[in-house]
């Protein structure tokens, strides 16, 4: 861990891990699909943070390029997710994924 930096990189990793697990918890616990999508975005962005931090450690730009790629993909995912949520809950009163359970068994 010889890279010169102001803040030790492990703090970034810990932060990203915390963000990641908040994302996981959000997906499991929240009932609003929009919030769930936001939680998934949290997971993605936690990965982005880790990627960029590691890119600093290794002085390898691949991590940053990767993060850029992830941002683009995540945006597409958000758009599609939003579209699907709109279609599913167009006529519903509450935006609640627990109400969408017609398929089971």
């Amino acid at each position: 861990m010889n890279a010169p930096m102001d803040v030790d990189v492990s703090y970034y990793i810990v932060l990203s891990t915390v963000i990641f697990f908040i994302g996981v918890g959000g997906v499991i616990l929240r009932r609003n699909p929009l919030i769930m999508l936001m939680a998934i975005e949290l997971m993605f962005n936690a990965a982005n943070l880790a990627l960029i931090a590691f890119a600093r450690v290794w002085i390898n730009n691949a991590g940053q390029i990767f993060a850029f790629l992830v941002i683009t993909v995540a945006a597409s995912e958000a758009a599609i997710g939003l579209a699907i949520v709109v279609v599913v809950f167009r006529r519903a009163k509450n935006v609640d994924v627990d109400e969408v359970a017609g398929l089971r068994g």
Partner: protein, 117 residues
């Protein structure tokens, strides 16, 4: 000692902590709802409509299209930075990218995606 061992330990701690933060309030918090508590508070006046307000579906659709084209436009940025270095190769690549984007744009347009019916 491997310098990343603490990181591994942190990972575990973080997982537990993050999960706990989300779970603990649900377990510990006292819940005694009564009608008055459940009521939405708006300056002492009873709300007459849904608090969040309903946007028309078209709003979301336009917003989504905006997001997509907006983010794709962000891909221009790295190219713009290195435009002179990349020369004709970069121009070609970007031209191809724009053509693809344009076909998508035409598709949305023809299918009436931009119309505020």
């Amino acid at each position: 000692m491997n310098p990343y061992v603490p990181v591994g330990i942190f990972l575990g701690v973080a997982a537990v902590a993050a999960t706990a933060f989300v779970l603990v309030p649900g377990l510990l918090a006292r819940r005694k709802p009564n009608p008055a508590k459940s009521e939405a508070y708006e300056c002492g006046v009873e709300p007459t409509s849904v608090v969040g307000g309903h946007f028309p579906v078209r709003f979301y659709l336009i917003a989504m299209l905006f997001v997509i084209f907006d983010v794709e436009a962000a891909s221009f940025y790295p190219w713009a930075v290195q435009m002179h270095a990349l020369r004709a190769y970069g121009l070609l690549e970007m031209a191809a990218f724009v053509v693809v984007l344009a076909i998508g744009y035409a598709y949305v347009w023809r299918k009436g995606g931009f119309q505020w019916r």
